[in-house]
C-alpha cells in the first residue's frame, strides 16, 4: 500500500518526498453503534503523512474530520466500529489492543485541541499536567520532568516558565493556553502531531502567532503534522497537502497549493468561492446551496450531488477518487484545471 501511495502523482511535487512516511491511513471507515444499528460517520478515508510534512484535513462541521483524528489517536467513542488500516512509523496500529494504542499516545503521537481552556485540567497545575506526562512516558524523575517542562514552555515562547508551571489554566490568556497545549503535545518527542482546529478559538493576531509557532515546531522537530481545519486559507498558507472531506467522504486530495488555486471537485470550488475575496468590492458571493445532509441521510452515489450544479444521472452512482489534472477528486464531472 505504501508503494501505491508513494506513486501518486500528487506526491511527486511534495516537498517532503524523500523522507519516510510517518502515518498512513488506508480505507479508514468509522460507524457509531446506537439503538437503531450502525450509523456510518466516515467512509473510506486514505492519506499518508511524511516526516516534516503538514497535511490538512479540511471540511465543514459534521464532515467527519475530527472523528477521523480520534480514530487515528485511538480515542474514538466506545461505540465506534472502525475499519481499515492505520500504520504509524511502519507499524500497523489499527489492530493493536486499546492498552497498546494508549502507549503510543504522547510518545509517538501528540494531540492539540481546539479549546485549550477545556482541554487542560482546570484544577491541576500546568506543571503537574506536564510532569505527569513526562514522568509516565519518559520515566523521568520529578526534578528532571520539572526542568524539562520549563524548557518546553520556554521553547514555545512562554515567559517566566517556572512561574507558569505553578499556575493554572484559568490564569492564562487564550494564546498562552494554546502554547501550553503545544508544549504538552510535543513534550515526549512524538513523530506525529495532530492539531484539531488549533487556532479557531483565537483572535486573528494571536492565531497568526500560534500558526507560526506550529510551523516552527514542525520544521525544527521534523514533525509529521495532521492539521484539521475548516479554513482553506490557513491550509494554503501552512500545509503541504490537503484532504478535503464532505459528509464522511474524502472528495479531493492533493497538494494544498493546487487545491486552493484550482480545485477539481465542485465542493472544494464552492468552499473557496463562498469566502469573501479580499480585493473585491460589492459583488455577490457564490454560496453552496442547501445544507450538509445529516449523518444517516446521505444520498446514494455522490454525496454532494443534491447541492451540486454539475449534477446529472451519473452522479447517482458513487464516483471513485481519481486523478483529474493535478489533484485527485471523487467526482464524475470535475472542473477543468485553471491556468
Amino acid at each position: 500500500m505504501t508503494a501505491h501511495i508513494a506513486s501518486l502523482p500528487a506526491d511527486r511535487a511534495s516537498p517532503a518526498l524523500d523522507t519516510r512516511i510517518v502515518l498512513e491511513v488506508e480505507g479508514l471507515s468509522l460507524s457509531l453503534r446506537n439503538a437503531d444499528g450502525l450509523l456510518p460517520i466516515v467512509t473510506d478515508v486514505s492519506f499518508a503523512i511524511r516526516q516534516g510534512e503538514a497535511v490538512a484535513l479540511v471540511g465543514e462541521s459534521g464532515c467527519g474530520k475530527s472523528i477521523t483524528a480520534s480514530a487515528i489517536m485511538g480515542i474514538a467513542p466506545d461505540n465506534a466500529e472502525i475499519g481499515g488500516t492505520i500504520t504509524l512509523n511502519g507499524q500497523a496500529i489499527s489492530g493493536l489492543s486499546p492498552r497498546a494504542r494508549r502507549k503510543l499516545c504522547g510518545r509517538h503521537m501528540g494531540f492539540i485541541f481546539q479549546e485549550p481552556m477545556t482541554a487542560l485540567h482546570p484544577t491541576l497545575s500546568i506543571g503537574r499536567q506536564m510532569t505527569d506526562t513526562l514522568r509516565h512516558n519518559l520515566g523521568l524523575s520529578h526534578a528532571e520532568a520539572t526542568s524539562r517542562a520549563a524548557q518546553l514552555l520556554d521553547r514555545v515562547g512562554i515567559p517566566r516558565a517556572r512561574d507558569i508551571l505553578k499556575g493554572y489554566v484559568h490564569e492564562l490568556s487564550g494564546g498562552m493556553r494554546q502554547r501550553v497545549m503545544i508544549a504538552l503535545a510535543i513534550s515526549c518527542g512524538p513523530s506525529l502531531v495532530i492539531a484539531d482546529e488549533p487556532t479557531t478559538a483565537l483572535d486573528v493576531t494571536i492565531q497568526a502567532q500560534v500558526l507560526d509557532l506550529l510551523d516552527d515546531m514542525r520544521r525544527e522537530l521534523d514533525l509529521a503534522m495532521l492539521f484539521i481545519t475548516h479554513d482553506l486559507e490557513v491550509v494554503g498558507d501552512f500545509c503541504d497537502r490537503a484532504v478535503v472531506m464532505y459528509a464522511g467522504d474524502v472528495v479531493e486530495r492533493g497538494l494544498s497549493a493546487d487545491i486552493v488555486r484550482s480545485p477539481a471537485h465542485p465542493y472544494a470550488r464552492g468552499l473557496i468561492d463562498a469566502v469573501p475575496d479580499h480585493d473585491d468590492g460589492r459583488t455577490r458571493l457564490t454560496p453552496i446551496l442547501g445544507t450538509v445532509p445529516p449523518v444517516g441521510q446521505w444520498p446514494p452515489g455522490c454525496r454532494f450531488a443534491p447541492r451540486c450544479n454539475r449534477v446529472d444521472a451519473q452522479c447517482r452512482t458513487r464516483p471513485a477518487l481519481e486523478l483529474h489534472g493535478s489533484t485527485e477528486a471523487r467526482c464524475w464531472h470535475p472542473l477543468e484545471p485553471s491556468a
Binding site: G62, G64, S66, S70, E115, G290, V292, P294
Partner: protein, 300 residues
C-alpha cells in the same frame, strides 16, 4: 470538545430549503413511551385512587378499637393484619394515605407558588436577591425537620401546623432552583433579542422566561411532593405531626415500633405504602427530568 461532539449526529445541521430537520417525538409521546414515567404514573394513579376511594373501600372509622382482634397476622380476613388495638391495618393504610397525599399536594402547591413568585423577583432584582438568598442559605443548611418540630411544638400539633411548617421549609430549595433557572434564562440571547425587539417586561416574563423555566419547576414539584410526604410522615412519627386523633402513615408507625417483634406487619405495611409513594414521586421526577431535558437524559 470537537472530537466527539462535532460529529455526534444530533448536532449536525440538517435539512434544506424544503425538508426541515425531522423532529423528535413530542414531550407527550416521550412520556408515554418512557417505561419509568409510565410505571410511576400508574403507581401514583393507584395510590391516588385508593386514597380518594378509601371511605368506599374501607367504610367505617379506621381508628375504631377492637381488642379481641389484636395482632392477627395478614390473611384473607385482614389483608395487612391487625395492630395492638385490633384495628385493621389495610383500612389504616388506605385512610392514612389520604392524609399523606393531601398534605403533600397542598404543601407542594403552596411552596412552589411562593417559590416561583419570589424566584422570579429574585432573578430580576439584584438587591432583593441578595437578601432573599441569604435567607435561603440559612433555611437550606438547617434541618427542616428540626425547625418543623420546633414550630409544631409551639403551635401545637395539627394538620395546619404541619402544612405551614413544611411549606416554609420547602420554599427554600425550590426558590433556589427557580431563581437559578431565571438567572440562566435571563442571560440567554433570546431575552436580549426580545428586549431589542421592544417586548415589554411583563410580556418578556410570561412569554419568554416562564415557559423556559417551566420544565425544571415541574421536575422540582414532584421532588417537593415527595419531600412533603416524607416530612409529614417523619413529623407524625416523632409525635409533632398531625396529632394522634388523625391517621397518617407516620402516626401508624409511632406505636407500631413497640410491637415489632410480635407483629412486624404493622411496621411493614404503612412504611411500605409510604416508601412506594415516595418512590413513585421520585421516579416521576427523574423521568420528567430525562424527558424535558434531553441533555441530561443522554447520560443515563
Amino acid at each position: 470538545m470537537s472530537i466527539i461532539q462535532a460529529t455526534s449526529p444530533d448536532r449536525l445541521p440538517g435539512g434544506d430549503e424544503e425538508s426541515f430537520v425531522t423532529t423528535n417525538k413530542t414531550v407527550w409521546q416521550r412520556l408515554l413511551t418512557n417505561p419509568t414515567a409510565m410505571t410511576s404514573v400508574v403507581m401514583l394513579v393507584v395510590l391516588g385512587l385508593s386514597a380518594i376511594l378509601a371511605p368506599v373501600l374501607a367504610p367505617g372509622n379506621p381508628l375504631k378499637v377492637s381488642p379481641a382482634d389484636r395482632f392477627i397476622a395478614p390473611g384473607a380476613e385482614h389483608f395487612f393484619g391487625t395492630d395492638n388495638l385490633g384495628r385493621d391495618m389495610f383500612d389504616m393504610v388506605l385512610h392514612g394515605g389520604r392524609t399523606s397525599l393531601f398534605v403533600g399536594l397542598v404543601v407542594t402547591v403552596i411552596s412552589m407558588s411562593i417559590a416561583v413568585a419570589l424566584g422570579a423577583i429574585s432573578g430580576f432584582y439584584r438587591h432583593v436577591d441578595v437578601v432573599l438568598m441569604r435567607l435561603v442559605d440559612g433555611l437550606m443548611a438547617f434541618p427542616g425537620i428540626v425547625l418543623a418540630t420546633a414550630a409544631a411544638g409551639i403551635l401545637g400539633p395539627s394538620m395546619t401546623t404541619v402544612i405551614t411548617a413544611l411549606s416554609i421549609v420547602l420554599i427554600a430549595p425550590s426558590l433556589r432552583i427557580v431563581r437559578g433557572q431565571v438567572l440562566v434564562v435571563r442571560e440567554l440571547q433570546m431575552i436580549e433579542a426580545a428586549r431589542s425587539v421592544g417586548v415589554p417586561t411583563l410580556r418578556l416574563f410570561t412569554r419568554y422566561i416562564l415557559p423556559a423555566v417551566s420544565s425544571p419547576i415541574l421536575v422540582q414539584a414532584s421532588f417537593i411532593f415527595s419531600a412533603a410526604v416524607l416530612g409529614e410522615a417523619g413529623l407524625s412519627f416523632i409525635g409533632v405531626g398531625i396529632g394522634p386523633k388523625e391517621l397518617s402513615w407516620g402516626n401508624a408507625l409511632t406505636e407500631a415500633r413497640n410491637y415489632i417483634a410480635q407483629a412486624p406487619w404493622i411496621v411493614l405495611f404503612p412504611g411500605l405504602a409510604l416508601m412506594l409513594t415516595i418512590l413513585a414521586l421520585n421516579l416521576l421526577g427523574d423521568s420528567l427530568r430525562d424527558i424535558l431535558d434531553p441533555r441530561l437524559a443522554r447520560r443515563r
